[in-house]
Subunit: 191 residues, 2 copies
DNA sequence: TAGATTGTTAATCGATTAACAATC
DNA sequence: TAGATTGTTAATCGATTAACAATC
């Protein structure tokens, strides 16, 4: 929303603007924004650039973390192709797979490496974040390998609940949970 | 978790088993399961098959809804390839794109049609669910087309907040929200 | 019988919302 | 000045958790 308004040359935005666009309660928006430390002007709202900067710095999107992706299937390929991840604090430093047909190939201009190279590369390149897009059957195993390689956070696209030591940040992209909610809403309406 | 235990020939499962596997509070699990109407036995737990059936029927995963997917990019292709969606109540009835290079091609054995054919096909095939994997710039427009074609629920993989008439179910697969949470947790730890 | 587990009610907790003073 | 909006405190609401009787 902020980026769209900026491209329309707006300079300020109020919480009522945001709440209208996102269908949220304005107080909720104000309370959430206050966590970022942004300061607005009564009667005017927030400076658009200030607000963006505060959100970006709150989320760490103003500096890039090196990430590696394991599992160059369709989903992995899709993620590697999102060049706008650099606006979201991520840069891809490496991509891995175990399929001999994929290792050595270029995917979105990045060479796919064999998974065996992960430990060395993760350490050399100071990779903090692992993106897990492997089949469910090997998810735990690959996650363990990531942690051994010093990776601190895992973005888990598999439907597996990973069991890892404390202190490792695991964030699940809950695709099936989202589907379950959708399914229930449809089901509740039909029956 | 239930499917894995079933393949190991377990017949029953208790909420403490589930809570251990998913790291949830056992009371929470019990409360949630009660919404499905499943009935367990004190001292024993729930019959594994009963429980699966109750969850499936609560979510409507025991009958297939016909779905169409619009936007056969990498993400769309990935979704079309998940043959296990039929365990989650979805069958793909059609896939659409506007790119002439894609229209007519087979993707995972399904022919990609031109988006122009959506209204007719959606009506003829009684398609209830639309899966939106198009670029953000055309998300609203394509969603409007889906609604006009009689689609009742949209699974929205774009980062756009859709504006649609009341009564249309919209479920957002919040990929960027998930990334934001991950980013913040990393940021909060570092700084 | 003893003990584990379900199912549910009551208590707690935290998140959302309402209210309103401050201020531009 | 009047009015819109911020920022924050207090009230409400709902979700999570604790407690415990029922029961296999």
């Amino acid at each position: 929303v902020l980026k769209r308004l900026e491209s329309l040359n707006r300079r300020t935005i109020s919480t009522s603007d945001i709440s209208r666009a996102l269908k949220l309660d304005p107080t909720q928006v104000r309370k959430d924004l206050s966590y970022t430390g942004v300061v607005g002007k009564p009667r005017v709202g927030y400076n658009l650039q200030d607000l963006q900067r505060c959100i970006q710095s709150f989320l760490g999107w103003d500096k890039l973390s090196r990430a590696c992706l394991v599992g160059v299937g369709h989903l992995g390929t899709a993620l590697l192709g999102y060049d706008r991840f650099n606006e979201y604090g991520i840069c891809f430093a490496a991509a891995f797979d175990t399929d001999p047909a994929k290792v050595g190939c270029l995917v979105h201009d990045r060479e796919v490496r064999h998974l065996d190279e992960l430990p060395e590369m993760a350490q050399n390149l100071d990779i903090r974040l692992g993106i897990l897009t492997v089949p469910a059957s090997v998810a735990q195993e690959v996650a363990d390998l990531m942690v051994k390689a010093g990776i601190q956070a895992i973005w888990n696209f598999t439907p597996i609940s990973l069991n890892l030591e404390d202190g490792i940040i695991v964030e699940k992209a809950q695709i099936y949970a989202s589907l379950a909610v959708l399914s229930r809403r449809l089901e509740a309406r039909i029956s």
